[in-house]
């Protein structure tokens, strides 16, 4: 499946580069737009993983709703660009002791990570295209599972959303004099 491999590296690379730019560059509107690009790349990865429902829901919910909310807030608050000199001066983690400790820790994490990857590399191969009755990609199967096995989390989530809606409205309201 050479095409699958090409698409995996393409989408994966796009997701990583976009995420790096989200945290790396200073204009907050560009950060939001780059995060949308990262979500689109992840959506492509979900399609490669035979999960069209997750892919489409990612675009509808994350890229189409949550990011619109972020964009509105950034625009209405007129968020300023971060100042690089200010960051160098005032960041609490920008001291020599913290830098040395941070470098040591990240080297340690990197070594452990590479060891884990090398140790596990041969173990998991992707199953063949004919997974059992296409059970992974059927939206009907997902619906059935949500309403039977996961019925309680589903109801709890709906209460959570209701609480979040009410909470967001109350928190962002101007104080009544």
């Amino acid at each position: 499946m050479a095409l699958n491999t090409v698409f995996f590296y393409l989408f994966g690379g796009l997701a990583v580069v976009a995420s790096l730019l989200v945290i790396g560059q200073r204009n907050p509107i560009y950060s939001v737009l780059l995060l949308i690009a990262s979500f689109a790349a992840l959506s492509g990865l979900y399609i490669l993983l035979d999960s069209p429902f997750a892919a489409v829901t990612q675009m509808i919910v994350y890229a189409g709703a949550i990011m619109v909310l972020f964009l509105f807030v950034v625009m209405l608050l007129n968020v300023p660009r971060e100042d690089a000199a200010e960051w160098d001066r005032s960041h609490p983690l920008n001291k020599p002791g913290a830098r040395r400790l941070g470098t040591a820790l990240s080297v340690f994490v990197l070594v452990e990570f590479l060891w884990a990857v090398w140790h596990m590399a041969g173990r998991f191969g992707m199953p063949l295209k004919d997974t059992s009755a296409g059970s992974v990609s059927s939206v009907a199967a997902i619906g059935r599972s949500i309403f039977t096995d996961y019925a309680f989390p589903f109801e709890a989530t709906s209460i959570l959303i209701l609480a979040a809606m009410v909470g967001a409205v109350v928190l962002a309201r101007r104080e009544q004099e």
Partner: protein, 348 residues
């Protein structure tokens, strides 16, 4: 020379044909809008450019091409040019999953029938919805990047309107999903084949508009609001806001927003044709001419769009939002509940 897979060739041809058909349909809509508006206002409309003014859209495009391309100095260059690209891109992209005819062999020219859609995805309805939600970004970025008050207000209002009506749009889709039992647009159309019979005579085609009249009304209303057409076009109202989010755009970038609006109208009408009006089925008439019937229904819906624009007065912005949240949304929820009860009871 390695053999080229005919499937790939067919795909590429379909993509090219659909793309150009959409461009032509946008041009046709420009002409139709001017003519229908004129006739509704008891005048003639364009008659000079070509017979019956048919070359008017091409004249318009040429004029727009020769205009000066301006960008306000204080605007954000990257976002200013990306916004129309996003608008046009999402408008065209949504048509990938819309089928426009039964599998056809083009009068025996081909050995086997080819299906008339670019891609048959088994979650096609959700894909259309997802791409519609991405269309908001074109408008909101256009409003923001122009860095001018009219544009910003127009852009924010327009995007708030679009995301409000997306909910009703989605619920209307969900009620069709309940009746058709599948998210794939091709399956939904094929579920509408045939007709209901009374004493052995077919009287009514099995279209979902007869099963879900309220759903059809909600879908078309939400569609008109999504595409920012009158009576919901306050954000781009000429009299109120100069021109809303595309105030600062000129020449080809303005043409791109224009194009995006018309192609969005065509897409919403095409999806409505497939979901509610039976797609390419017109019961007593033969199915192999399916594309002609599909196109006829599409034209009826597009005429309906134009008719409404030039007949009804415009909603004020707060009236528009109230209509969406306080009337259309509860109505669509009730419609969904009633549909679910009906499906459970009648077991279809």
């Amino acid at each position: 020379m390695p053999a080229i897979d005919p499937v790939v060739v067919v795909q590429i041809v379909l993509v090219v044909v659909v793309f150009h058909a959409l461009l032509l349909s946008a041009a046709g809509m420009v002409w139709a809008e001017r003519k229908v508006a004129a006739r509704l206002q008891q005048r003639f409309g364009p008659t000079m450019a070509g017979p019956a003014g048919l070359l008017q859209p091409f004249a318009d495009v040429l004029k727009l091409l020769f205009k000066e391309e301006l960008r306000p100095k204080a605007s954000d260059a990257v976002l200013f040019y990306i916004a129309p690209v996003i608008s046009v891109g999402t408008a065209f992209l949504a048509f990938c999953v819309v089928p426009f005819g039964p599998p056809t062999t083009f009068f025996g020219l081909l050995k086997e029938p080819i299906p008339l859609y670019v891609a048959d995805v088994n979650v096609a309805m959700l894909v259309v919805f997802a791409i519609a939600s991405m269309g908001v970004y074109g408008i909101v970025l256009a409003g923001w990047s122009s860095n001018s008050k009219y544009s910003l207000l127009g852009g924010l209002r327009s995007s708030a309107q679009m995301i409000s009506y997306e909910l009703c749009y989605g619920m209307a889709l969900a009620s069709v999903l309940l009746v058709a039992n599948s998210l794939s647009l091709k399956d939904v159309v094929e579920a509408q084949a045939g007709a209901w019979h009374l004493f052995g005579i077919p009287i009514l085609p099995r279209w979902f508009v007869f099963v879900q009249p309220v759903g059809f009304f909600i879908f078309m209303t939400a569609g008109i609001a999504e595409t920012n057409r009158a009576p919901f076009d306050f954000p781009e109202a000429e009299q109120e806001l100069v021109a809303g989010y595309h105030t600062e755009y000129s020449s080809m970038t303005f043409a791109m927003f224009f194009l995006a609006e018309y192609v969005n109208m065509v897409t919403v009408s095409a999806v409505a044709t497939n979901l509610f009006l039976g797609g390419w089925f017109l019961p007593p008439l033969p199915v192999w001419l399916g594309f002609v019937w599909w196109f006829a229904k599409l034209s009826v819906l597009l005429f309906f769009y134009l008719w409404i624009r030039w007949t009804l007065p415009r909603y004020r912005y707060d009236q528009l939002m109230q209509f969406g949240w306080k009337f259309l949304l509860p109505l669509s929820v009730v419609n969904l509940l009633v549909t679910a009860a009906g499906v459970l009871y009648f077991g279809s």
